[in-house]
């Protein structure tokens, strides 16, 4: 909220009479209000109408009856979701992917940023950065299209390579135990380079004199990294970690959806893809809305909690 309330509204504004206020609104600011119209309509139609639509999670929504006339069922959809085996499976799959991501994919850009920071030959550094940022801009469709070309059991380059080295032909795209490693691998390939930017920005604030002083004091390369570089990015790392923890339920729809197939579905399904499959494909609008509502409520609690913690750690950070 801090970002927005930069200045308190003038106190005497409240003391004006209604007529004066109306006059101000319709004479002085009428063109500003005209400019507001499309944006406000957008929020009402595409953001707030769906929020109202969330009440179908507590109803048995029948399309031809409409939202109003559809019968209330209270928390039935929630209880049937929590008591179904799907719930624990989805939660497990989601948490597995998130925590694997935090353990493996999260440290990767930090590591890479530290190494990039050690390069003094700036043309080479720029060149490497230019290469590793590319995948960030590609859609998940392209990333998974590439994965299918390279990891296809029918002549995929990587499958052939693995067979030559290890003598086994692995169907990376179908075997359920390979689903999670593939998701993490794609995430690392797509996000690591881009992820370095925020850490490199933090490192840009370290004055070169600090390193020079350390060299004069006889500190070797690893001591300098340990005592100068790491402390410089520590606040950023902590904040990024906290924020990542706050979005553990957001596993990203496109990637998971496109990597899911009939053979790996048991480990692949997460909340978002489940909502799509049950809601859009099978038409259980109310039930899937309940699942989605549960996910976003838990998501809000996590975000607000982690934001609170982030602010305790560092007053300048946090989302609001």
């Amino acid at each position: 909220m801090k970002a927005i309330t930069l200045r308190k509204p003038e106190k005497n504004a409240d003391k004006k009479s209604l007529a004066e206020i109306v006059k101000i609104m319709w004479v002085r600011d009428k063109w500003l209000y005209c400019l507001l119209i499309p944006g406000v309509l957008y929020f009402l139609i595409f953001r707030y109408a769906p929020m109202y639509g969330v009440i179908i999670a507590f109803k048995n929504y029948v399309p031809f009856l409409g939202i109003q006339a559809s019968p209330w069922v209270g928390l039935d959809h929630f209880t049937s979701f929590f008591s179904s085996p799907d719930f624990l499976r989805l939660l497990g799959n989601t948490l597995w992917l998130s925590f694997l991501g935090i353990a493996v994919a999260f440290p990767a850009p930090i590591f890479l940023a530290i190494l990039l920071n050690e390069i003094r030959f700036s043309v080479y550094k720029k060149l490497v950065q230019t290469c590793i940022y590319v995948p960030h801009f590609l859609s998940w469709t392209i990333v998974i299209g590439l994965t299918h070309v390279l990891f296809s059991i029918n002549g995929g380059a990587v499958v052939d390579l693995v067979e030559t080295i290890f003598g086994v032909r692995i169907n990376f795209l179908a075997e359920p135990q390979w689903f999670r490693p593939m998701i993490i691998l794609q995430g690392i390939w797509k996000g690591t380079g881009w992820g370095t930017i925020i850490f490199l920005a933090a490192l840009a604030n370290v004055s070169p004199e600090q390193y020079e002083a350390a060299i004069v004091d006889g500190a070797g390369r690893f001591r300098r990294i340990w005592h100068i570089t790491l402390p410089a990015i520590r606040p950023t790392v902590v904040i990024m970690l906290i924020l990542t923890m706050g979005s553990v339920l957001n596993t990203g729809f496109d990637q998971i959806f496109l990597m899911t197939n009939s053979l790996n579905r048991s480990v692949a399904d997460v909340f978002d893809t489940y909502v799509y499959n049950v809601g859009i494909t099978r038409g259980s609008y109310s039930y899937s809305t309940a699942v989605g509502l549960f996910k976003s409520l838990v998501g809000i609690i996590l975000i607000l909690t982690t934001d609170f913690i982030a602010k305790k750690v560092d007053k300048e950070s946090g989302l609001f």
Binding site: Y42, F43, F46, L116, T130, T141, L150
Partner: protein, 294 residues
């Protein structure tokens, strides 16, 4: 003693530098290797693709895959649709975002706080996939290209960034224009927007890349496969491996099944690569603006 220091510092330092340079070089190559293979493979024959696991230069150079996809009506249509939706959608989204951000930057505006809270709440909570789908459906936008542009017309995070930018805008310029009798809309259009070109360009790129890469909206809202965007067609060809996805006029012709996958990936990546220098510059800036609160 000082020699000792030098030895202590530079020799392991040089080894470190060497390993570091090699390592980062490998990281850069690994990132680009899939593209190199896809580009090389898209110009190779089907028999070479079946025979060789990995290569950087094709033995026989052929344009067969490109010739095939560019004669496919489904492919050409999806390209035209995607370019059109990206162009119009970017303008629509810029229009909605900037026209709302400008008045919200005016501190004297009554109801401003309420509207800003409305935006912030939408950042935290959304109706979710199904209720949004039902709204789009109720508006009759299923199978309409407007469904790819309007539901995401304003990104609340971007809106707040742009609002903060306008808050720091020169008030004098606007005041002098007001004295000359211009309305706020006139000021916005003729003075504020021309002076906001860099931020307009940044967000135009944000939105354009977002729409070009968008998979979920077309998946949700386009049932009719004749209306598909490039991302949906790409999925059908490369991930679902549907050999008939692109159709064929001649029943005797066997399409280059592997080559066409690679060629369509190349085509879908091409626009992003073409504007990549701008993307790198503007997106990095945008990321850092976003992480610094205004």
């Amino acid at each position: 003693m000082s020699d000792m220091h030098k030895l202590h510092n530079t020799k392991p330092g040089k080894v470190f530098d060497f390993i570091n340079i090699i390592f980062l070089g490998i990281a850069a190559i690994i990132t680009l290797l899939p593209f190199v293979y896809v580009v090389a493979g898209s110009f190779a024959t089907e028999s070479e693709l079946a025979r060789r696991a990995f290569f950087v230069f094709p033995e026989t150079f052929t344009l067969e895959a490109y010739r095939y996809i560019f004669t496919s009506e489904a492919f050409i249509r999806s390209i035209i649709v995607t370019i059109g939706v990206t162009a119009v959608g970017t303008l629509v989204q810029l229009f909605f975002t900037f026209t709302l951000a400008y008045p919200l930057a005016k501190r004297q505006l009554r109801g401003r706080k309420l509207l800003i809270n409305m935006v912030v709440f939408a950042m935290l909570f959304s109706g979710g996939m199904i209720p949004t789908f039902l709204v789009v459906q109720a508006l009759g936008l299923v199978d309409s290209y407007w469904a790819l542009m309007l539901p995401n017309a304003i990104n609340p995070f971007n809106l707040i960034i742009i609002k903060n930018f306008f808050q720091n805008f020169s008030v004098e310029l606007e005041e002098s224009a007001k004295i000359d009798g211009a309305t706020e809309i006139g000021i916005f259009w003729r003075i504020v927007l021309p002076l906001s070109k860099p931020i307009l360009a940044t967000f135009a790129l944000f939105y354009a890349v977002g729409i070009w890469n968008d998979f979920m909206s077309p998946l949700l809202y386009l049932n009719d496969s004749s209306k598909w965007t490039l991302q949906l067609l790409l999925r059908q060809v490369t991930i679902s491996s549907d050999p008939n996805a692109l159709g064929s006029l001649d029943p005797d012709y066997i399409p280059p099944a592997e080559g066409m996958k690679l060629a369509i990936i190349v085509i879908a990546t091409l626009p992003i690569m073409t504007i990549y220098p701008f993307l790198q510059k503007h997106f990095a800036k945008g990321l850092l603006i976003g992480s610094v609160k205004g």
